[in-house]
């Protein structure tokens, strides 16, 4: 994730001009920049307001404790942070990487203040019926999920000290195979009705984790629990792999430019790269970044 675009990518003179112009248009279209605050800025308040996250009251004055945008919702005023760690909420869909296999639970890295804990009892194994986990299951945990695997889960409960418990009870959660994990800033992934997207024409699953981890992979068939799933490694066709990389690079470009990730924006970026016949590895070059910026300025109008 790079934010100083001008430093990392060499833009020639015309590209600079085009880029600046697109940024100016985006700035004009945006309406919330007047509410942005930084640390220790004072926030206008009425006496009736509830003071939420990112604020603190000092000597009767309300100060911001983080850099962000002030949001008023009914009687609540809070500061929405931009670049901060993921703040978990119950029922959020998250994607994470397993960093440790412990006794009866897995520790999952989530780009949050603390790591997530996925208990064995909160997972669905190959059986259709949720059976009581015996000690044998604990010893066989490594057969299901090992370190460095990518898993998809739901935030189960958040303890008072910040400890996070994950649940992977339905079939759509669990270990993710044959794909790519991308890390973006959490503020770019908004909460929506559906975080699981199945792109039928490409045969690809796209999971937008609320913690900023995005999974792009070959579509996982929902395994019939009665069938015996053999352990053969399946072969992902070349076209699917290229599509996975194209979508992955589109997400990288959008993250570099700081645009919100939604399915529409990602697919539009992929379409843009296809129509302009841009090679997958050229997508990370300066020209494509400028094109995407211009396209976004057009789209938001």
């Amino acid at each position: 994730m790079m934010r100083k675009l001008q430093l990392e990518l060499p833009l020639n003179q015309t590209q600079k001009v085009r880029f600046e112009r697109s940024m100016e248009r985006l700035q004009l279209l945006s309406s919330t920049t007047n509410n942005s605050v930084i640390v220790a800025d004072s926030i206008n308040e009425d006496a009736f307001l509830l003071k939420g996250h990112g604020t603190s009251e000092v000597d009767g004055e309300l100060l911001a404790t983080v850099c962000g945008v002030v949001v008023h919702v009914d009687k609540l005023v809070y500061v929405r942070t931009l670049r901060a760690k993921y703040k978990p909420e119950v029922y959020d869909v998250v994607v994470g990487r397993v960093i440790e296999v412990s006794q009866s639970f897995w520790r999952v890295e989530l780009n949050s203040t603390q790591d997530g804990v996925l208990k064995l009892s909160s997972t669905n194994m190959s059986d259709a019926v949720q059976k009581r986990k015996r000690s044998v299951d604990e010893l066989n945990m490594r057969d299901i999920i090992v370190e460095d695997d990518v898993v998809c889960a739901e935030v189960g409960c958040i303890h008072r000290d910040g400890r996070l418990e994950l649940k992977a009870l339905s079939h759509k959660y669990g270990k993710l195979d044959n794909g790519e994990l991308l890390k973006v800033d959490p503020y770019l992934v908004k909460k929506s009705m559906n975080h699981f997207h199945y792109l039928e024409s490409l045969g690809i699953d796209l999971i937008l984790g609320r913690n900023g981890f995005i999974w792009v992979g070959e579509h996982a068939q929902v395994k019939d629990p009665n069938q015996n799933t053999g352990n053969e490694k399946s072969y992902t066709p070349l076209e699917t792999r290229q599509s996975i990389l194209r979508i992955g690079n589109a997400i990288r470009v959008l993250s570099n430019l700081g645009f919100t990730m939604t399915l529409e924006v990602i697919m539009e970026t992929v379409k843009l790269s296809n129509t302009d016949n841009i090679d997958v590895h050229d997508m990370l070059g300066s020209e494509f970044h400028v094109l995407v910026a211009e396209n976004e300025a057009e789209r938001r109008r």
């Binding site: 100083k4 940024m23 942005s36 640390v39 220790a40 945008v69 931009l82 000290d161 910040g162 770019l188």
Partner: protein, 241 residues
């Protein structure tokens, strides 16, 4: 040696109450959660903040319901005129501790229990005032990482040479043998978080030098605020959909 000539100009042409040129930038280390580069004249410092994240070494955790703040100050071996022999010496350890205490007082650690915040400071070019530049860079990096803070911690140094208080000493003026007073303040709350001095000063002179350093801190605070406001606005209008 004459550090302030009869017209009131210093060795680099500044007046007694003029600071060196400040260049500040946010978001320079892409892998870090927050990062910043801060330059005061020729002194150049880079700060990278990782956190809040899971505590790596549980034995270091002293207060259970507060975040653990770790700070590491190091000077690159090419940062001074002669290539430095050791990267970590006693001075680096002392400065790590001092900066850690300053930043810890400013971060709202009770909002982030069971977590760890790592601040890494690397001096790329040393020309006097490195600890002030480090504190300013750390403040920018922490704000960039979205870590809640009471206020922006800013720092500046001032000295006393040729019977004149001088703001923002460079290396030559610092090694002249006069006093060097480093002040760190929280500008909005108007509190002092760091006060260090070497050598001796009479009380009235100290008060003048301290006041001068505080003025310098306020000017730096303005600059830092500009950089953060610009950065926040830019992130917001890019994101807004």
């Amino acid at each position: 040696m004459e550090y302030v000539n009869p017209e009131g100009l210093r060795l680099d042409g500044r007046r007694f109450n003029e600071m060196r040129q400040i260049v500040a930038e946010v978001g320079v280390v892409s892998k870090a959660d927050g990062s910043a580069v801060f330059e005061m004249g020729n002194t150049k410092v880079i700060a990278a903040v990782y956190g809040p994240r899971e505590i790596q070494n549980k034995s270091l955790q002293k207060k259970n319901d507060h975040a653990l703040v770790l700070c590491e100050y190091s000077m690159a071996q090419f940062s001074t005129g002669d290539r430095r022999r050791q990267k970590f010496d006693r001075r680096s350890t002392e400065l790590s501790l001092v900066i850690r205490q300053t930043m810890e007082a400013c971060i709202l650690t009770e909002l982030l229990p069971h977590s760890q915040i790592d601040i890494f400071l690397q001096v790329l070019q040393a020309d006097g005032g490195t600890r002030s530049a480090c504190i300013n860079a750390a403040t920018l990096a922490l704000a960039d990482a979205g870590i809640p803070m009471r206020d922006l911690a800013v720092s500046c140094s001032a000295g006393y040479l040729n019977s004149t208080p001088l703001l923002d000493l460079n290396y030559v003026e610092d090694s002249a043998g006069g006093t060097d007073v480093t002040v760190g303040i929280l500008p909005k709350l108007d509190k002092v978080t760091l006060l260090q001095m070497d050598a001796k000063l009479p009380m009235e002179t100290f008060e003048t030098v301290f006041a001068l350093a505080s003025e310098g801190c306020k000017a730096i605070a303005e600059r830092i605020r500009e950089v953060l406001q610009e950065n926040t606005k830019q992130l917001e209008y890019r994101r807004a959909a």
